[in-house]
Symmetry: C2
Subunit: 374 residues, 2 copies
């Protein structure tokens, strides 16, 4: 139960988190003009670095986090730094930047809009994946990083890694895109349900809950819907099957809940409730809604009908990883995505991680991921 989930901000059980060399804020010197037409005035990027930039400045690596993750990659992806694994604190200079819209330090719905002096709240604009990349590139400039030996990420982090390769082709040597492809109708549907779960909560108050308590029940339900899509049916079956909840509840017995007589829970229900409760203590509803939109609107071909042209810009070597039991971004869709990139003349390989853990395998089975990447 303590393993990380998609975009987790926590370390897996038993693996000590790494301490960043530096953690701090970068304030963009000007306005960030967004694809949606609006502007973020002097937005802040919260970031963490691990290791040191070498004299040749050729050892920089950018890690992009997933949906509800943080800049502390050494906490949620520690096995990637294990000896002989993907990254090395001794040899690499690893940067991880919190996404705009998040509640982990970068400008988001909980920040004050300088134009109004008020908290953005539900008025926070749509920040695209591309907008994030453009903001992040200013931070890299300020750190004197002209080349990235590698940019990598899973899920929405993989969307960013891919956009880096397309939009800053001269900076990126290699990109590792894990468990992601353009989001299809089923993914859009799942996000639509999560949005409604939050907005149906009477505490949401149209997003203006900020000075009150946040829509906890709605956010917990949204998280549970998300969890379904991060895990897999075989994993649930193996772990929970039809067992009654481990705290002793009986699914056949009536049980008072919120005033009505509802039966005791099965184990899977107890697990999902637990995940929902954990989540509401660490994440903000408006941030969640903001980043869902960032995810929904990612279309690497937006504004062009010529894949060869857009993807043909890439100079990096790309590696794609699909996960066999992932049903949010199926292995087949990742494989096809890699194939489309190859057809545009880009060097791109595809590997498949065989795992029952579903979409979350890149976080839940880090040792296996590292093995696949070696």
């Amino acid at each position: 139960m303590t393993e990380p989930e998609s975009g987790a901000a926590e370390a897996p059980a038993g693996t000590p988190p790494l301490t960043p060399t530096y953690e701090g804020d970068f304030v963009l010197p000007g306005n960030l003009e967004l694809e949606c037409g609006r502007v973020l005035e002097n937005p802040t990027l919260h970031y963490a670095v691990y290791g040191r930039l070498n004299a040749a400045r050729d050892n920089a690596v950018l890690v992009c986090h997933a949906l509800t993750g943080s800049a502390l990659v050494g906490s949620w992806w520690p096995e990637i730094f294990a000896p002989g694994a993907v990254l090395s604190i001794e040899h690499d200079f690893v940067i991880c930047i919190n996404m705009l819209g998040s509640c982990y330090g970068s400008t988001g719905p909980g920040s004050v809009n300088p134009a109004t002096g008020q908290i953005y709240g539900p008025d926070f604009p749509l920040v695209s994946i591309r907008d994030n990349v453009r903001a992040q590139s200013q931070l890299l400039d300020s750190l004197g990083i002209r080349r990235l030996r590698l940019v990598l990420g899973g899920s929405i982090g993989g969307m960013q890694a891919f956009e880096w390769a397309v939009h800053d082709p001269d900076r990126v040597e290699r990109a590792l895109v894990i468990a992601v492809a353009p989001l299809g109708a089923m993914g859009l549907a799942l996000n639509h349900l999560q949005r409604q779960a939050i907005q149906n909560d009477p505490d949401w108050l149209g997003g203006n809950y900020l000075s009150h308590r946040q829509p906890r029940r709605g956010l917990a339900l949204a998280r549970q819907i998300g969890m379904l899509s991060y895990k897999s049916a075989p994993l649930f079956e193996e772990r929970f099957a039809r067992n009654p909840n481990r705290n002793g509840e009986d699914p056949w017995a009536p049980m008072h809940q919120q005033g009505g007589l509802i039966g005791g829970r099965f184990d899977i229900a107890g697990y999902l409730d637990h995940q929902g409760q954990r989540f509401i203590d660490r994440f903000d509803a408006n941030s969640y809604l903001a980043i869902l939109r960032t995810m929904d609107t990612w279309d690497p071909l937006r504004g062009s009908d010529r894949p060869e042209e857009v993807f043909g810009r890439i100079r990096a070597r790309l590696s794609f990883v699909g996960i066999s039991s992932d049903w949010l971004f199926t292995a087949e869709s990742v494989r096809q995505f890699a194939e489309t990139i190859r057809k545009a003349g880009v060097q791109a390989d595809y590997r498949e991680m065989v795992s029952d853990h579903g979409h979350d395998a890149f976080l839940a089975e880090q040792v296996e991921l590292v093995r696949l990447l070696q």
Copy 2:
């Protein structure tokens, strides 16, 4: 958009509904003692019949409806009655009985509890699949039906068809069990999310909404979660892909919704919203919660650890149908279920319907289902 969904109470577009020979109520002469330990006093079963019982009384067929269906099988499954199909109005006497807990005529949460003179509401007891079969058998007795040449149903209707074969082995000649197997952890999870969607709605009032308006938004969201599990990712992709909503909304544009700025919808979101809205006008939230529990608690081996003993009672010939793209009850789980039955010495065959329609294929692709069964 007008095709039937799991347990639909509506006819598919273009197919005229059949008019029942008779539609009415049967009131059980005594108490129905439920597996959960409670009692329903003189419960009512609402039912419909099509065709006439012949002199030999050997042409009776029982159809069991799915989650939110009604007794009017001629309306929601008309192709099953097409010339040369599975059933014949000329030769068969077809009975379909509304499940207990439903809002389509049988005793349910909206009925008055004779013991209190009050509407059951959230106090409606858990009625198991087996309880339903026991109540239905009293109705068949009253109609003078000693043999069923066939009992059939899909989804929760298939659970009933199967229990008929186990618990009234002398009455059932053949059972057709479509798109169902014991509900696994993923199915229990999906039902758990749907329950919360309803209970999080401030209009639910602990289930005591009856004299007020029902929890419409919560019930609509529950239905949408259900729809995801009734359909398939390939079907969604083919129909909706990443298209913007067909009414012209732009997913990139801000849009006022419930007071907050939320983006325009994708087409899949517009479709799901439409399905949710249609549903709340035809179904009741407490009934939905009641039948979800009926579904959750179905365990054909309950009270025994010897499958050979329980399944060995069956004398009927069983046919199972799995649907290739069904992820609520996977084809593999249906095939394995059939295999378990066969191992208990029962005659059971398994057929697979190849369809992109997911779980709903037995309603959405009736012509193909009929072809498979012929």
